[in-house]
Amino acid sequence: MTEISTPTPPARTDIDRADERLRDDAGVRGTLTAFTGRIRSGDLGVLPIIIGLVIIWTVFQALNPIFLSSANLGNLAVECVSVGVIALGVVCVLLVGQIDLSVGSVSGLSAAVTAVTFVNQRWPSWLAVLAALAAGAVIGWLYSQLLTRFGVPSFVGTLAGLLGFLGLQLYLLGSKGAINLPFDSQLVFFAQLAFVPAWLSYVLVVLAAAAVFFTGLALARERRVAKLSARSTSLLALRSLAVLAGLGFAAWYLNQSRGVGWMFVAFVGLVLVFHYLLTRTGWGRSVYAVGGNAEAARRTGINVTRVYTSVFILCSTLAALGGVLAAARLAAVNQASGAGDVNLNAIAAAVIGGASLFGGRGKASAALLGIIVIQSISSGLTLLNLDSSFRFMVTGAVLAVAVSLDSLARKSRATHGAA
């Protein structure tokens, strides 16, 4: 190990690379060295979960060659969305060290609100969706009040909500029990049949790669001016080429059947927006701060109450959005909307994706990765003719194995002292 950091390092000029105890990580070669170093010390980021995914995909493909077919992956992508959107909200709540057990009920309630206003009251669809989102926002506000004003732990407060809003959903749906959303409505079309045209998908891929390259370039230039270390242009080009190739291949493959669903594209867009909010704004910073150490955050003058409030409102609103999307995809709302394992899947997706239940750790992308893992297992098992009993057992086993991989990596990082 000592050969990497030599006692007399080469001359360095960057302010942030001046300490002589640091290994030299600049340039393409340095990046590679740093990367192997990180692997050795167990700091792998999303790598293990992606390896877990690859293993899940390989095994299922071996068991049933339809699994990796373009059509099935296309379905998989769209089926991720509604719970994925909910999981995104759950990530935010977990980040501040709280939990929301009621996302399932809230999604069901918001679906009911949409259906009742849109179908029964004949409101325009945008207004119906807005009403549902507003209901979600109000619910989130209520939770935040319970937490900040009365000090009710969010576990209990949202448990009460879980029951209460399920009741409200049943009440709204009333004696009918189920309401169909018309197939010819925009909402249902968007969720079931709207696919990105092939040419547009390639345009989007190129735009994404370009964006990666140019924002990286701008940042590197800014940092170089400030005499800070910066990624080299060749590295940036390499990275954006990788993005281009990866996304391009994915788009091409999915375009072999019906293409990429707009709903999935919208979901990825939402994840990016939240990534931005969480990493590049003062609000996001305060979210992490409150989750890491609420008392320390309070002492720096952060309005902790406001942070909790915003996060709970966001989470419930996203849950409502997820509920609306689920309803649109199903083209129906019933008493079971949002019931069953929506709750658990949404929270599990966030946790599997790497959000910590103890707050302060996790990323927006956790929702995306986590839900893809869960949906892949579910979709893969659907392709095998298994009895329910085996289906449950296999799901449990696959989940345990997939997450063990990820966790082993994290654990090795912990024993290397980088908690």
Binding site: Q192, A326, A332, N334, Q335, A336, T382, N385, D387
Partner: protein, 332 residues
């Protein structure tokens, strides 16, 4: 040409999806699926059956249907979790040139190609009517408790509707009713326990929407020390319920001729897969329909309805525990 859809070789290799709604009732996995698959294999050796159970989740059922279609299923036999939401599945299947047979529950808003069932509403009506008749016959005093299925289960709603249709006109008082969350027998037990302290001896009988909740109701009476236990209904003709009926703890259950219906469904499905267009006995909800009648089972007809029809084995019912009762009921 090889591989092109519609070739005759394709019909002989057809894939048929059999999509069941939940595991709250044991019958789908234990009876419907094996019976259906066996019959399909018998009718069309090269055909294969894609089986999935949606675990009471309409969205999951939709995914399972999509997956079946992605696997190239020509026919989907669908017992919808939610009759309303199943419209999407019919819609999607038709768009991809597949046929849909509604099984067990109808799909009124988007007619499928065929409907084959016994009717849940009628089940409710029949078990309730059987109890009402029994109470009138024995001249029992008091009212009835109604234990319904899950408030989030559409089938439970149909049964509930049937029960009310029989009770509301019977002149017997409905003391209280309860929608059992998730069909949980323990919840039914807790609720009935409460009603026993509340109404005491006024309870003349209990209409329970399935055998599990019925068993919960019976356990509540036993635990409260009520003897004899008032008549309690059930539904599904589970083995455990048959044993309780033999021992006199439960009043009735209902036997759905699953074998007949499953095999009929298999027959129709294979016909569709081979490009035929079977016609129904009647038309319901704009769908060609074939309906079968469920039979109420009590001590009186248990042997004939369950044992002789091969639905349950006498040996399975008559464990040593129930041997004496079996002998009394005349089951070997």
């Amino acid at each position: 040409t090889a591989g092109s859809p519609g070739a005759t070789g394709d019909a002989a290799q057809a894939k048929i999806a059999f999509l069941m709604p939940d595991i709250a009732s044991t019958r789908y996995e234990l009876a419907d699926h094996p019976l259906f698959e066996a019959k399909v294999k018998q009718l069309c050796a090269g055909c294969s059956v894609i089986y999935a159970n949606a675990n009471a989740d309409a969205a999951q059922q939709q995914q399972q249907a999509n997956s079946a279609l992605a696997q190239g299923a020509k026919v989907i036999v669908l017992d919808p979790v939610d009759s309303t939401a199943a419209a999407t599945i019919v819609n999607t299947a038709h768009a991809q040139g597949a046929t849909v047979i509604a099984y067990d529950r109808p799909i009124p808003t988007m007619p499928p190609d065929y409907y084959i069932s016994f009717d849940n509403e009628k089940i409710g009506a029949k078990i309730a009517q059987s109890l009402v008749d029994h109470l009138k016959q024995t001249g029992a005093q008091g009212g009835i408790l109604e234990v319904n299925g899950s408030p989030t289960d559409a089938a439970a709603g149909l049964i509930k509707k049937g029960i009310h249709s029989a009770l509301d006109t019977s002149g017997i008082k409905l003391l209280a009713e309860f929608d059992t969350p998730d069909w949980q027998p323990a919840k039914a037990q807790d609720w009935v326990s409460g009603q026993i302290t509340r109404f005491g001896t006024q309870i003349a009988g209990v209409v329970a929407a399935n055998d599990g909740t019925g068993g919960g109701a019976i356990a509540a009476f036993k635990a409260a020390g009520v003897n004899p236990v008032p008549p309690v209904t059930g539904n599904d003709a589970e083995l455990a319920a048959a044993q309780r009926i033999v021992s006199g703890d439960q009043y009735n259950t209902i036997s759905k001729p699953i074998k007949i219906v499953a095999e009929a469904a298999a027959d129709i499905a294979v016909q569709f897969a081979q490009g035929k267009k079977p016609t129904g006995a009647t038309t319901l909800f704009n769908t060609p329909t074939q309906l079968f009648d469920p039979t109420v089972v009590t001590t009186g007809n248990l042997k004939q309805a369950l044992v002789s029809s091969n639905e349950l084995k006498a040996g399975a019912i008559c464990t040593p525990q129930y041997a004496a009762a079996c002998a009394r009921a005349g089951i070997a």
